[in-house]
């Protein structure tokens, strides 16, 4: 045994084992530390008072306010939110595509394709590419809610500030995602293209883009779903739409109105989910993957349908321009530019007194631990819910649950799990914070629980989708050898999807760290509370320092996260 391992050192698993051995205890102690710093107290969480408070809240939500004038207000807010998200995603995906190409490491910085010859490792564009990548990182590290806070301070209340905030943060996010997708394309066909004399542009068009197409659309659709959620939440700081109405009704203690607005929000998310699901399957259809498209007539129909989707999308985008606040009059109001300049000047004279920095340090640690606890609990919750929410592509295997009783039973479990995931995911973190504050009181614990609930929903859905999208041949083979669907999940789907799922968890942690900085805006602890206070007091010097702290925190996490992500991929 030992001899055979020694004879194949490259394949021996001893090297990877070492990492595996330390990962668990290190992770656990980090989690314990984080739980301690963010005041996690499971006794409080499961105490009688908590449940009583939650029950009381639930009672006061009902019945929802369905009076005609208010329903009108709610629908208008929903419309504004949807339009904002749509416009912002459309503009950011267009802006992000060239930026993503520029930021791609494979095209400009490392490897065969980037090399210009003359013995250099990358092309002459390498520094520009590097700068784009990292500038996007800095922009991305400021939460969209903070961007909105700043835009609202600069341009006043209303959807325009929200749309601009979303455009800024989603452009940066998508540029990074696109660059990653480009870099993950299979390199062999690209090198083949290069060796037959293709230019970099040709490699991009004929090698990278065709390979990335599915992932690009998938991520863009996903980011649209996210941006709907963000667009609603931005209202919490005054950027219009559903969030604005929710925070208004909460402040007025009009809980029935809150329920109506939340229902509108959930409905909107449901519609977006259905829409993106439909688009996903329509866009996924391709002659190579669906045999029925090999017929000419079917293919022509398919192309026609695609054109129609494109036309409809353009029309909807055009209609969304005005409610999203992107009109000439709102962008070029008399004092907007003046305000922005005054505000920017304040930002460039940061407050750096020792006591303030010390306070920032304490808050930063608290923010980090909130994000760790929230992500870890959320991932566990998500996995638990993803198992019953995963649907097998039963079309390939006819024998799954043939009896009606079994089918109904599994349908019921499936839909319950999916609905739970959707509700957890649909309700934004900030609303969860408001709920958790009622249950366990102000502070980081409420923030961590809120984060875990929302993260559970997000990750659970992603986990289920990843397992559904992973190759199904193995599952078929296992079913054919007499395994049950549950066994297939544990022995095929979960191991196959785990690398992807791990990436989602790390990605989500990265996002959660950003979210943890804003949970404080509504009482969830961390840096957010201070940020909100200083913006209200118009002390832009302190605001500037706090934003710098947020940037340092998030970029620091990326530095820490990157090597571990690389390790994860390797092992």
């Amino acid at each position: 045994m030992a001899q055979s391992l020694a004879s194949a050192p490259a394949f021996a698993d001893t090297g990877t084992r070492f990492v595996g051995k330390w990962r668990l205890p290190v992770g656990l102690s980090l989690l314990l530390w984080a739980a301690w710093v963010s005041n996690v107290d499971l006794r409080v969480l499961f105490s009688k008072q908590t449940f009583a408070a939650l029950f009381d809240l639930l009672r006061r939500l009902f019945p929802p306010d369905l009076s005609l004038p208010f329903v009108k207000v709610a629908l208008h807010a929903t419309y504004t939110t949807a339009a904002t998200a749509l416009i912002a995603t459309a503009i950011s995906s267009v802006l992000a595509l060239p930026l993503g190409v520029l930021a791609s490491g494979r095209l400009w910085r490392t490897g065969m394709i980037a090399a210009d010859g003359n013995g250099r490792a990358g092309s002459w564009m390498a520094p520009i590419s590097w700068i784009v990548l990292h500038f996007m990182g800095v922009v991305r590290s400021v939460p969209d809610l903070v961007w909105a806070l700043l835009f609202v301070a600069g341009m006043g209340l209303g959807p325009t500030a929200g749309t601009l905030a979303l455009i800024v943060s989603y452009t940066a996010l998508l540029a990074r995602v696109y660059a990653d997708v480009f870099d993950e394309a299979d390199v062999r066909p690209l090198e083949a293209l290069q060796s037959l004399g293709a230019t970099r542009l040709q490699i991009l068009l004929f090698g990278i883009l065709p390979q990335s197409r599915a992932l690009l659309t998938s991520y863009t659709l996903y980011s649209f779903e996210c941006s709907v959620r963000s667009a609603a939440v931005l209202g919490f700081v005054g950027a219009g739409g559903l969030g604005y109405e929710i925070s208004l009704s909460m402040r007025l203690f009009e809980f029935p109105q809150v329920l109506t607005l939340l229902a509108c929000f959930v409905l909107l998310l449901f519609l977006v989910d259905v829409l993106s699901r439909v688009l996903r399957t329509k866009l996924k259809a391709h002659p190579e993957t669906s045999p029925e498209l090999r017929q000419d007539s079917a293919f022509a129909r398919h192309l026609r349908r695609r054109w129609l989707i494109g036309l409809a999308l353009t029309a909807v985008l055009f209609l969304s321009l005005s409610p999203s606040g992107l009109t000439r009059s709102s962008l070029l109001q008399g004092d907007t530019i003046h305000n922005l300049i005054r505000f920017a000047r304040g930002l460039f004279s940061p407050e750096i007194s020792g006591s303030f920095l010390k306070e920032i340090g304490r808050l930063a640690l608290q923010t980090i631990s909130i994000s760790i606890v929230g992500t870890a609990f959320g991932a566990a919750l998500g996995l638990l819910l993803a198992l019953p929410a995963t649907r097998f592509s039963a079309a390939r295997h006819e024998s799954l649950d043939r009896s009606l009783g079994r089918r109904l039973q599994s349908e019921a479990i499936f839909w319950t799990a999916r609905m739970t995931l959707n509700i957890l995911r649909a309700i934004p973190e900030l609303v969860w914070v408001l709920v958790c504050v009622i249950a366990v009181g102000f502070g980081p614990f409420a923030g961590a629980i809120a984060l875990a609930l929302h993260t559970g929903g997000v990750l659970g859905k992603l986990f289920a989708e990843t397992m559904e999208d992973s190759p199904q041949e193995q599952v078929e083979a296992m079913l054919a050898l007499g395994a049950s669907p549950l066994q297939c999940i544990f022995w095929a789907l979960l191991p196959q999807s785990w690398p992807m799922m791990r990436r989602y968890i790390l990605l989500r942690w990265d996002m959660n760290l950003r979210v943890a900085t804003i949970l404080g805006l509504v009482g969830g602890g961390g840096l957010g509370q201070a940020l909100y206070n200083e913006v209200q007091l118009a002390d832009f010097g302190k605001v500037s320092t706090l934003i710098a702290a947020v940037i340092v925190l998030v970029i620091g996490s990326e530095w820490l996260g990157q090597p571990s992500a690389r390790l994860e991929v390797q092992t």
Binding site: D401, R402, S403, E476, A480, G482, A483, W491, P495
Partner: protein
Amino acid sequence: MIYGLNSVGKAFGKGKHCSVAVHNVSLNISQGEQIALLGPSGSGKTTLFRLLNGSLFPSTGKLLYRQTDVAAMSHGELRAMRRRIGSIYQQHCLVMNMSVLANTLSGALGRWGLVSTLRNLANPRAAEVELAEHCLESVGLADKRRFRCEQLSGGQQQRLAIARTLMQEPDVILADEPVASLDPVLANEILELLIRLTEDAKLTLVTSLHQVDLALRNSKRIVALRAGQVAFDVPTQELDPSELAQLYRSSRGQDAPVLTSFDESGGEPDGPESGERACLR
């Protein structure tokens, strides 16, 4: 007798998009037989395999496994049947980022309850590991047990697939073009291994092949499919070479249907089953 097929047909889709993959196939397969399944691409070999291993159910006709109608089996009986049928595919049937040992162990899933399923994932029982190592040894992969599946070559992966099937302790091994993606030398090696192992344990072996010479050399009975129907079914030594040539030639012809489409079949079917049945008529 292991299998009895009585004018079995299988169609996919319904109405306009209906296509017939297997049509009116009658066969008997007895314990210990070694059968090669020949036929051009798209002649319904894979569909027939998936019918035999219980992944699909016939739209028409009867498929008996050990004298029991597959369509009438309960959920538990079906799983019990699948447990006894080992399937080997062309490729892509192993979990790439699991170890060779874990992939082998997964052959025993049909015997495990939920507790063993989870326990063996983290820390497999010694008895199971011993059995798996024995299976790996018999396909010559004992020294690779700690490797990840993706680190194996194509031939080694196919050996692993055989080991997983042995782990099932099957009565029947169905191999659907098991050597299609291998070079001739490796292909021969793998087939000989399959035959040696099945002969040792007196198992039934059904292999579909593209390579006619391999089929002739390695099996005792030839079943040929063309356009979803049995073209001929003879012992290998009685095979008429001209018939064999005809089998492949006709599929190259212009109007030879590979998957017969029934575009003109009208009428609204009231369910997938009856739809499939309607388009087989």
